[in-house]
């Protein structure tokens, strides 16, 4: 299974499921729904955290440990 953490910089994916319930709730209210397209824009210089853009609308920053719980197609 592929997660947001497996994306390369500039690569896109569509959210399919969440592995972490509590984090999922937080992501949902921030507009990351299953079916939403996300792009990995940048990895911070030390490899973490990541900057992703959500449906090319706005950017979120999240840690690697959080990114691996977001599964993508």
């Amino acid at each position: 299974m592929k997660s947001v953490a497996d994306l390369k910089e500039g690569e896109k994916g569509v959210i399919s499921a969440f592995l972490d319930n509590k984090l999922a709730l937080k992501l949902l209210e921030m507009g990351c729904l299953p079916g939403t397209e996300v792009t990995l824009d940048h990895k911070a210089p030390l490899g973490c955290p990541y900057c992703i853009s959500v449906s090319e609308d706005y950017q979120l920053s999240l840690r690697k440990s959080e990114a691996i719980t977001i599964l993508i197609d």
């Binding site: 030390l46 973490c48 955290p49 853009s53 979120l60 999240l62």
Partner: protein, 700 residues
Amino acid sequence: MIVALIGNPNCGKSSLFNHLTGLRQKIGNFPGVTVDKKVGFCKISDGSDIQVIDLPGTYSLYPNSLDEQVVLEVLINQNHSDYPDLAVIVVDSSNLKRNLLLFEEVNDLGIPTVLALNMLDVANEIGITVNTPKLEKILGIPVVEVNAREGIGLEGLKLTIFRALEKKQIHDNVEVVSDELKSAAKAVKEKFSLKTDYAALHYLTQTDKLSFLKAEEKKFLQKISADLNLDADAFQAKEVMERYKDIGQTLNDVVEIEPERHNSLTLTQKIDNVLIHRFWGYVIFLGILFLIFQSVFTLANYPMDLIDGGIASLNDFLKSVLPESKITDLLTDGLIAGIGGVVIFIPQIAFLFAFISILEESGYMARVVVLMDKLIRKFGMSGKSVVPLISSMACAVPAIMSARTIGNWKDRLITIMVTPLMSCSARLPIYTILIALVVPDDKLFGLFGFQGLALMGLYLLGFFSALVGGWFLKKILKTNERNFFVMELPTYKKPRWKQVGFTILEKVKTFVFEAGKVIVAISIILWVLASYGPGEGFSKAEERVTAQNVGLTTDQLEPKIAAEKLQNSYAGLFGKFIEPAIKPLGYDWKIGIALITSFAAREVFVGTISTIYSIGADDADDSTIKSRLKNEINPETGEPVFSVATSYSLLIFYVFAMMCMSTIAVVYRETKSWKWPIIQLVYMSVLAYVSAFLVYWWLK
């Protein structure tokens, strides 16, 4: 009438608040918590005044931090003193889908709402058009277009608020409370006289987060939840999904997106390529910090010299025209010297806050969080600790309060514990004056001032000790609590200068009136303590000196008399009492007096020494604080009191010492126990004493 402004972070809510209320605003606290409450007044269309509250930004009514919890409590507790008559939901029109989630939730609580469509210009730029009349028709509540950045549409908004307060309207949302929950909701609704089932469900699913509930009420709610086998997370997830579906349908009819839409993030992504670059990102961040310190030191120096000189000549002038008396002395050496010690801070505070608010306004601060997260995590904190740490270069009190955005308790506690090690603006005058005494005013490579470098060095010392402190605390504290880092990155924007101006004004005002009160009061007390003394030691001082120094002129006698008087005054006795304890650090009893008085607030230090040395010195030529200190000679050794060793020892002492009552008080409020402020006071005092001791003996 209370109107609450509610919205997502970065939706432009605060600038709308500033436009609506102008300078008629104040900062208070919500009852029971230390979350900043911004309240202002605004005249609406019928000429009456309404109270406007700017609630913290949040994505939903399910809080993840203290700030967000306040929003929930204000909106869900009808007996709350800030419970609004009307909610103005401010939304970012370029991202309506996410922004309308909060709108639906607030609506569902039964609070009448007005929707303010903000940032339509941004939406248009990227090819999104919103049909406002149609949206208004579908939602069934007033919808207004505003531009909070430019201040456009305010009259329309005020008129709408006026009308909405007359005729309160609530939008009929999608039903998120399922049938099997209805009867439980009804019981809760009746007990707490709530308006809607949805409000009742919040009482049931978030019982622990509602601090206003009594123990008995909590038991009542917990029993119902247990009987129902209510899964709070599942309810929340289902609710959010259903609402997004509903919002999606609404927006289908209202929002048009050009097929050739422009990516709103292109520019931001390009800037990010540089600003979070693995090499340039850090170089630029350090460069910005360097720029800030150089300019705080050099630029602020001009107005500060003017103020220092102005106060001195005002005092000289007053002394020359007013009759020589105790009252004149109190006015000049006590009151005006004390006020001078407050006013002289203003340029530096203004400069520092100008920079900090530009960094926040532009969106760069969020990138600093990203840059620093992994580094700072090693030291027991999170990237989000960077904001408190950087803000505490201005003042630890708001900085410690800003640590509330850190959801994780351990990260937050460590941040609170080490934040006061960062050098705040109150230390700045102490640094400035002591550096000016001992660091030569030369330039390295003819470019960088040594004094500016020394200043930066002290700030870095504070920063690194905060990191080391965090590392120790990380090893000591244990916790299993988990929390999230995920946060929104705002797009880069041109800073709104008006907003920057507001911040500067607000901070300077707070400083002048809050800290200023203490400083002036202490200055006057000090003058009294230094001008009076017990018994013959003080009253006979003049006769003694005259008898010992036969043959001297009056001009030569006067400073000796003044010094003898100060030694025997209450302040002198006080300073001498603690002299044995501070002698190993290279301080005399006069500095001792300043240490004691600056325990309440370290900014008092400069005011105190300027008061003390103006009493002890003759006023003929050396009227600025700096020259007075430079000429101060230790009567025992004949050496300058502010020698290199003593000055550096004092500098180091003030880098580490926890000398600020307000910080102690705010740490107590934020951690809700005396344990943490006491631990903090002890560890910082020990650190300060030992380091100052080592520095003194090394340089001596």
